[in-house]
């Protein structure tokens, strides 16, 4: 049990990252019924820019990653999503996938295709809390992620733009009839989701201590899965799903290692999809 708790704590850290990405997917799904497969590349772009800005300090790097992430998101909206928003889901996914690949390849040209070490931004070492080892930087990342998740929920529930967002998610036509600028809401939501992806990218690069232009793909799958566990478009569900998945991954790493645990996780998910296609957490 002790060992299990230790692994669960570690899992929670990666779960927090999944949550940030899954939250973004979920926001995009709610606001425009899109799964943007360019989203994972935005994470890598945020990571690259954040790492480049690292000498100026952690806060500057964080802001840079956020700003570039949001900008990249808006670019993706105007280049691949907006021209196709009246078309089928299939075409939207394919177009954003194409855009994501382009972004990754261009990024690889700039920073190099191999994964490379990044400078330390956060304190290394561990704290011992209640008898468990907790890496300092992992705890900081977790704290930032949780604050960001809470902020997102607060904004979406309480602020005016959040209400406009939810109206758009529920029925765009009715929202428009009430004087909501649907276009503005969509741009806001993709900028917001992409900002989170950019920050998540920087934090992943810090946790792993390395930067890889193709890092998005391996994170996107768990994040999509997290969104599905929560039920597509359920934003709270996506956040919880991400944390759950991380813990599950951590605990399963006790007995089996590496790719096999990943495979079991995926297989488990396929099983969930067979049994409850509408998501585990959604209740009508």
């Amino acid at each position: 049990v002790r060992l299990g708790t230790q692994f669960a704590i570690d899992g929670l850290m990666s779960g927090a990252i999944y949550s940030l990405l899954a939250l973004g997917f979920s926001i995009l799904w709610s606001s425009m019924r899109v799964v943007s497969l360019a989203h994972p590349s935005i994470l890598a772009i945020g990571a690259a820019v954040g790492v480049a800005a690292a000498p100026a300090g952690f806060v500057v790097a964080l802001l840079a990653a956020a700003a570039v992430g949001a900008t990249a998101g808006v670019v993706s909206y105007y280049s691949a999503i907006k021209p196709l928003v009246q078309r089928s889901m299939l075409e939207l996914m394919v177009a954003t996938l194409g855009l994501g690949i382009i972004a990754e390849e261009v990024l690889a040209k700039i920073v190099g295709a191999d994964s490379r070490a990044t400078p330390e931004l956060l304190p290394s070492g561990s704290w011992i809390i209640g008898g468990f080892f907790v890496r300092k930087k992992a705890l900081i990342v977790l704290a930032i992620s949780l604050v960001m998740l809470a902020a997102a929920l607060f904004i979406l529930r309480r602020s005016k733009i959040g209400i406009a967002f939810r109206a758009t998610a529920f029925a765009p036509e009715i929202g428009a009839a009430h004087g909501i600028n649907i276009e503005a809401v969509r741009v806001f939501s993709i900028a917001f989701a992409s900002m989170y992806a950019g920050i998540a990218g920087l934090m992943v690069a810090n946790l792993a201590g390395s930067l890889d232009p193709f890092m998005g793909f391996n994170l996107a799958l768990p994040a999509l899965i997290a969104m599905l566990i929560g039920g597509a478009g359920n934003i709270v569900g996506a956040a919880i799903g991400g944390l759950l998945l991380g813990v599950l991954e951590g605990v399963s790493a006790i007995s089996i290692s590496g790719p096999m645990s990943q495979m079991l996780e995926f297989a488990l998910l396929l099983l969930v999809m067979v049994i409850r296609p509408q998501g585990l957490l959604r209740n009508k």
Binding site: A80, L84, L90, L97, G98, V106, M263, L269
Partner: protein, 291 residues
């Protein structure tokens, strides 16, 4: 012709067949981002049989077809309740699971990370082109305009329309997906005997992405468009070294441009009067809005 060009030509033809196979799923409205895995399973099955059991290569082809098809039928039937998005994600996950399983399998015969090696090289450009030609004949003279083809296209628009035509929509979807993966299983066997090896990486997303680009850019709604996409885009990198060095980037750009500016791909599947008169059927359901 040098060996180098022989293998490139064969590969292009095989990719044409594979893209056509994928197009059958795409035009029925089922986006698969894991089709390479079905080809991979066919390749492993066919490869083991020819190498270790001594099955003749020509008999391994139907084996790949059946294995790929059975797997696809089972997979689609299992995930029948998923909508487009979830199903696409399920295929993506399936591809990754299959690749990891192939790399870690406890059957030493499959070669783990290294993959299956030492297969006979049985593919000449002629073999590959003949099979591609057979696929073209099937597309134009058997599939195109058949009741099944029309129903699976209708299914992409609206399941109720399929029901009105007198066929259970779910059955049409499953059959279309199964036929699609069966073709992929067959191309897997071809692929395995072109290079003499199958690796776990061949099952992964990277290759599925290539196939998707071929099919979508060429035109999934007209099957021959997908074939053209597979052949042309496989040859393209060898025309200019700049493209060869930036293969994935080029594919990404081509994909994005075609999806945004030319709906339905290069060959959109609009009626071709001469062709239709030749075949004696007047057909085609172009994608909604392709005009």
């Amino acid at each position: 012709m040098s060996l180098y060009w022989q293998s490139i030509l064969s590969l292009a033809a095989i990719n044409g067949i594979a893209a056509w196979g994928l197009s059958i799923a795409v035009r029925s409205g089922q986006l698969s981002v894991g089709h390479a895995a079905f080809a991979g399973v066919g390749a492993y099955a066919g490869g083991v049989l020819t190498r270790d059991v001594g099955l003749p290569f020509l008999l391994a082809l139907p084996v790949g077809f059946v294995v790929g098809g059975a797997l696809g039928l089972a997979f689609r039937a299992l995930f029948l309740r998923l909508d487009h998005l979830l199903f696409a994600i399920a295929t993506l996950i399936f591809g990754q699971v299959a690749a990891i399983a192939a790399g870690n399998f406890f059957i030493p015969r499959l070669g783990g990370e290294v993959g299956l090696t030492g297969l006979d090289l049985r593919i000449s450009p002629l073999t590959a082109v003949i099979i591609l030609g057979a696929a073209l004949v099937i597309e134009l003279f058997v599939l195109r305009g058949s009741a099944f083809d029309l129903r699976l296209r209708l299914g992409a628009e609206d399941a109720d329309l399929v029901a009105l035509s007198g066929a259970p929509p779910a059955k049409v979807q499953v059959l279309a997906f199964g036929l699609s993966t069966a073709v992929l299983g067959l191309t897997g066997v071809l692929w395995a005997h072109l290079y003499g090896t199958v690796q776990p990486g061949d099952l992964q997303f990277g290759r599925s992405f290539d196939l998707l680009v071929f099919a979508i850019v060429g035109g999934a709604y007209s099957g021959y468009g997908a074939m053209f996409g597979g052949v042309a885009l496989s040859l393209l990198p060898y025309t200019w070294s700049v493209i060869e060095n930036n293969r994935r980037l080029t594919l990404g750009i081509v994909l994005l441009v075609v999806v945004v500016f030319r709906r339905g791909g290069l060959f959109q599947g609009k009626p071709v009067p001469i062709l239709d008169r030749l075949i004696g059927r007047r057909v085609s359901v172009p994608p909604a809005g392709a005009d």
